[in-house]
């Protein structure tokens, strides 16, 4: 237990070639392989607002541009804004000569003291909503541009299809095709000459008035050479980028930002398309519906005690093995040869491509590039021979004082202790001279009891998992 918080000391080699601690690895029950965040496909599962913890359907999120309608962020410091109520004296609607107290609401930041009143936003009479949205000043212009180019693209597509039948080749098109886009723009000027130009469509494209260039642009403000700069009245880069469409330059132009929503992700194995992790729908729940973490399926290796290591001196190092599955497990240590493993990985990949056709004929698996990781050990290790048996996990065992040692014929040289589903094993590590840290590698071979109900396959499978252990610093 010495290294509970140093998960990086013991790392497993994922099927994609990355070394990761067991907490960052998944085990696909269907492919029977290790997967990690690098080699699974991530998906957006549910969208929710982190402030009001309200779920948002994806269509609504699309319309609202991934922002919550009711919660706001401070445009100045990005902290959540809170609604404040105050009462003001306003003329009564029935009798204008009298005044009545009315409740009004404004937004205030509890962190930097920014309020919506600072920037001249009117107080609201309702507690939630009612804040006017900012509009893009070029909205109309951009819509006509989009319409124009859409009709151009449409026309181009029609032309292309006609050309496909007529097999006509024009030198003009092949010349402009080179830069992927120009013919799209270039054709606009040529289209009246083209014999295929649609006749009735002209009205739509003529709507567009191209932008006019100007002789002069706005120069510096006249007072810039004399006016003192008030830093707090000019926004920082973060404040500008928080609203990319407007990018306010003065603090007085800041506008409350709708809170950006967050997602819960689900993970899927690329090869068999089964879910490896799926969160619960409820935003406030931190549990999972499916969670195939490796720590539920792969025997966990931990360092027990830090040993003093010296160059070239054989030292006994104790590790513990823990069986997380509810089935007994037979386990053996094999030497780890990085070169052989890499070769096998590449071979397996070739096989895998052929194999994936069998499992799913429609979906072609797109492989990610194999990662190159440094797998050279810096210490030699003498691995215990023979097999060990790890008993199944039993939640009640904790309350038992019974000693289970008797029932196993363990070699006392190898097995240091045995407790419920855990076993302590001694390894003899000889650090290579010159190494700063002793890193040993071995392959964990174990009998895995298949939990997926398939009639054709046998229940237990033998799996090999390469493990790299950082045994610790080495001294001379």
């Amino acid at each position: 237990m010495a290294h509970l918080f140093q998960v990086d000391r013991v790392r497993l080699l994922c099927s994609c070639g990355v070394l990761k601690p067991i907490t960052a690895i998944y085990f696909c029950r269907h492919c029977l392989k290790l997967r990690c965040g690098n080699c699974v496909s991530h998906e957006v599962d549910t969208l929710f607002c982190p402030n009001c913890l309200e779920n948002m359907p994806s269509t609504e999120a699309r319309l609202k541009k991934n922002r919550c309608a009711n919660c706001f962020d401070c445009p100045s410091c990005c902290h959540t804004l809170s609604t404040r109520a105050t009462s003001i004296q306003a003329p009564s609607p029935e009798d204008p000569s009298k005044t009545v107290a009315r409740k009004v609401y404004y937004l205030a930041c509890t962190s930097c003291r920014w309020t919506s009143r600072d920037v001249g936003l009117k107080d609201q009479t309702v507690a939630t909503g009612g804040w006017a949205e900012q509009d893009n000043e070029h909205y109309k212009e951009l819509q006509t541009l989009l319409e124009h180019y859409r009709s151009l693209a449409q026309r181009e597509k029609l032309e292309k299809e006609r050309k496909r039948f007529s097999h006509r080749k024009s030198s003009y098109f092949s010349m402009t095709d080179k830069y992927s886009l120009p013919s799209l723009i270039g054709r606009k000027s040529l289209s009246p000459l083209s014999p295929y130009s649609p006749k009735g469509d002209g009205s739509q494209t003529s709507e567009l008035t191209p932008s006019e260039a100007v002789e002069e642009v706005e120069g510096l403000p006249a007072d810039i050479f004399t006016e003192e700069v008030n830093l707090s009245s000019i926004t920082s880069m973060e404040q500008r980028m928080a609203s990319p469409e407007w990018q306010p330059e003065k603090s007085s132009d800041l506008y409350p930002l709708h809170k950006h929503i967050l997602v819960k992700r689900s993970l899927r194995c690329r090869h068999c398309e089964h879910n490896l992790s799926k969160p619960e729908y409820n935003p406030s729940s931190v549990k999972f519906k499916i969670q195939l973490g490796a720590f539920y399926h792969v025997p966990e290796v931990r360092m027990v005690q830090q040993a003093d290591l010296k160059w070239g001196v054989e030292t006994s190092v104790q590790i513990s093995l823990c069986n997380p599955t509810p089935h007994d497990m037979t386990l053996a240590f094999l030497p780890f040869v990085p070169e052989a493993h890499i070769a096998a990985q590449q071979k397996g990949e070739e096989l895998g491509e052929g194999g994936s056709l069998n499992t799913s004929s429609l979906v072609r698996v797109v492989d990610i590039p194999v990662e190159k990781t440094d797998l050279t050990p810096t210490a030699d290790v003498a691995l215990p021979q023979g097999q060990l048996i790890l008993t199944a996990r039993d939640d009640t065992a904790e309350y038992d004082d019974q000693d289970a040692n008797s029932s196993f014929n363990d070699d006392p040289q190898v097995v240091a202790w045995r407790r419920a589903n855990k076993v302590g094993v001694n390894l003899l590590v000889t650090p290579q001279s010159g190494a700063k840290r002793a890193i040993v590698g071995f392959v964990l071979r174990y009998e895995y009891t298949n939990t997926v109900a398939t009639a054709t396959e046998s229940r237990t499978v033998t799996l090999n998992i390469p493990v790299m252990v950082d045994v610790g610093p080495v001294s001379e």
């Binding site: 496909s41 070029h138 992927s180 920082s236």
Partner: protein, 403 residues
């Protein structure tokens, strides 16, 4: 002809699988959806390094594997923190510079196709699509970014590649000039009010502080003032114009920094000072004009488009116009480029996302399905067809495609 293509064509625009538009920049990355009026997010191109856990810029690495890892992490962040959509089986438009190194482009395509399994990618040339936001076909497009400034004239929708110009002037150059000036002239004010030279307190200023100082206090001076300041360097008898007021800028802790007015004004001068090859922002525009066919020059000069983050610096476009006009009338250029009318466009967007907006317009049309690199085609030889690669521009191959 596929029978149902019409349906999918309509679907592209309105359906839920909206095309995603990216504009990756060295300093800031713009991301959003096609057909929208502005990007959803503009964020620093930075990721956490997998090994060290430090925040590192995505594109500043030479190692291919390293760049791939960073891009994987960065695009993951874009999709699941900001865009909140599934990348799988969705089209992507990447707005990129025509001068992007092929390596970077291939790695980006590999990440998008292999790691995120996108349906197709359109690599849209940024200079070209920037013109789409204006509805014009001809323009001299100058992109002043962080790392460099690139200039490509576009005539009737065709980039005149022989006349491209690039200089390593941009945000980064301004930062290093600002840092140099501040270390030389800036005064650090401690808690006790004692003033010290900044260089005696710290050796470098962090990049983020420099950017903040640049954005909030610096500006591009006018041509008259600049030339007066310049001549003052050689001839002390010429009175320099009175400097703008200095600014007290809070540094970390209880330390303040006095930024002299001259620094505020001079930091951006680096963009206009001619280097050893006599190149600067205004000269490359005229150089490029000179390389363009003679009958396109007038139209190009009357359609200047300045985009990129650095272009939004206060007073930059004004100064640039003034400089070009003076230069064009000067001896060096008046004989070769006989043009005296220069006009500039005002794009309907902030300068730093004009190219993105062009990509979004392109992505909102059916062109995104026609001019695209589909996943299957990429997976065959793991390479993006490149305009500068002869093997991708064989005559027969292209004719087959167009046939």
């Amino acid at each position: 002809m596929p029978l149902y293509e019409g349906l999918s064509g309509i679907g592209l625009i309105n359906e839920k699988n909206t095309t995603v538009v990216f504009d990756f920049g060295t300093a800031y990355t713009k991301a959003g959806f096609a057909g929208e009026n502005g990007p959803r997010v503009i964020l620093r191109s930075e990721v956490k390094c997998r090994e060290t856990g430090n925040t590192v810029p995505v594109f500043e690495t030479q190692d291919k594997e390293e760049l791939r890892h960073r891009l994987v992490d960065f695009i993951h962040k874009l999709y699941f923190k900001h865009l909140l959509v599934n990348p799988k089986d969705r089209r992507v438009v990447v707005v990129e510079n025509l001068l992007t190194p092929s390596n970077t482009r291939n790695i980006l395509a590999k990440v998008l196709f292999r790691h995120y399994e996108v349906l197709s990618v359109v690599f849209a040339p940024s200079h070209l699509v920037a013109l789409m936001t204006l509805g014009i076909n001809t323009g001299m497009v100058m992109d002043i970014g962080y790392q460099e400034v690139t200039l490509i004239p576009v005539f009737e929708g065709v980039p005149i590649l022989s006349a491209w110009q690039a200089l390593s002037l941009g945000g980064k150059a301004v930062h290093s000039s600002l840092s140099e000036l501040l270390l030389d002239r800036g005064l650090s004010v401690g808690e006790d009010g004692k003033e010290q030279r900044l260089s005696s307190v710290m050796e470098t200023l962090p990049e983020k502080v420099l950017e903040d100082i640049k954005v909030r206090t610096c500006f591009v001076s006018t041509l008259e003032r600049s030339s007066k300041l310049h001549s003052n360097k050689y001839d002390r008898s010429i009175e320099p114009p009175p400097p703008p007021p200095s600014v007290l800028y809070p540094l970390s802790g209880s330390r303040n920094l006095t930024i002299p007015g001259t620094v505020r004004e001079l930091a951006t001068e680096v963009l206009f000072e001619q280097d050893r090859d006599a190149l600067s922002l205004p000269t490359i525009i005229l150089d490029s004009l000179q390389k363009c066919p003679i009958d396109t020059r007038r139209m190009l000069a009357e359609n200047l488009v300045i985009i990129g983050g650095t272009a939004s610096m206060l007073g930059l476009r004004h100064r640039l116009l003034a400089e070009i006009r003076t230069l064009a009338a000067s001896e060096a250029f008046s004989k070769v480029v006989k043009i005296n009318s220069f006009k500039i466009h005002n794009p309907p967007a902030k300068a730093n996302y004009v190219a993105w907006l062009g990509g979004a317009i392109l992505g909102g049309t059916e062109a995104v399905a026609l001019r695209t690199l589909p996943r299957d085609q990429f997976l065959v030889n793991d390479r993006v067809p490149d305009w500068c690669d002869l093997s991708c521009n064989l005559k027969e191959e292209r004719d087959e495609k167009s046939a």
